[in-house]
Symmetry: C3
């Protein structure tokens, strides 16, 4: 069994509270044993969008940090979603799939490495339950100018 | 219980019949209680693609109108999908997730506001069952030059 | 009943073995009766990324070939996924949905025709079980410079 909260603590990661979407939608929807999380944009520690474009104003390493920050926000949303039904992250049976949108120039080709910033944290926190399918690619632009946006599907016990 | 048809009528919205995809796929697939709708591109009232690029030839307000027009087409497809199994829109348990692709320049950052044109209509027509998860982002281009494309997952009773 | 292996043989298609993702994720995840396949990038026969941009260095016809090559790789992954639980492609109840990302200029508008290269092969191999929902659109860039990337959801008996 994974002990995600112990691992988060050992990594000195504090999950954020559920945040309100910037528009007319909700942060997650559960259907059957699947939870669909909305695309979360990268945010700076002050809560403002992490603005940037890979291949222009940002390097791969910084993109990975941004993707890792999104993974933390996604886990915060997942924690809140589970809490609302009396469960918690220990009931995550599987991180099923990520879709990772990287705000990039037409020359940048390391979207998969940027996205590893998120993927590696899921693997770390959830162990084999964190091993997920994934698509990553470069988009023209992201709401509010954010550098990365990630959506997630998880299976719940 | 939502009464989506009454609301559609009060909004003077007429659902279009099921249209044939422009290529080798089908408009929807049901698997278990989920219906996956194909990406629907924005169309003008005459049925031609609603061509344009946000940040260049279109403003946010017009993009919202285009997204709203797609939501109507998606509801037409959903209605037809449900009718094929003897059901109708009153059996929509939840609009689960939208993916909204906005044909935008690399400078435009209001994809979330454009997408609200669709999201707000789903909320209006389905009430709390219309509250959905969502990803919205800017893409390089869309088939036939359309300004917006939206795909949808719905849960059926 | 579809006989996908007979059809693949008649088309002289040999499925590739399961390949290792280029980054920190897995090629597929099964949850309930659904298998989510990671985005597969187009590869040349030598296994290297099929690099190119539609509307610039590639025409629609070549894009279709690349999409068809991805469909073969996706079937290889699906075959391996099913084999791991004692099943095979004959247990594919439905190809549910494709998401097709086409590396394109901002002028290219035939992403749907490019994607047909994959869609038509699924229809050919799986018959009516191969008829799928789909989204296709143009993206700024794809990992490793590939011209097309496709992810897939399948339902298993």
């Amino acid at each position: 069994m994974t002990q995600p909260y112990d691992i988060l603590q050992s990594l000195q990661i504090q999950l954020p509270p559920l945040s309100s979407p910037a528009a007319a939608y909700v942060p997650y929807v559960q259907t059957g044993s699947l939870i669909f999380l909305s695309g979360h944009i990268a945010k700076k520690p002050d809560g403002q969008p992490w603005v940037g474009k890979l291949g222009q104003t940002m390097k791969t390493e910084e993109g990975m940090e941004a993707a890792r920050a999104i993974a933390i926000d996604l886990m915060g949303t997942l924690h809140a979603a589970l809490q609302s039904t009396g469960k918690d992250l220990r009931q995550v049976r599987r991180i099923v799939k990520l879709m990772s949108l990287v705000n990039s120039t037409t020359d940048f080709t390391e979207h998969h490495l940027v996205t590893n910033g998120a993927s590696q944290l899921f693997d770390q926190v959830f162990g084999s339950a964190g091993e997920h399918a994934r698509s990553a690619f470069g988009v023209a632009q992201i709401p509010r100018g954010a550098c990365v946006e990630i959506e997630l599907i998880a299976e719940i016990a």
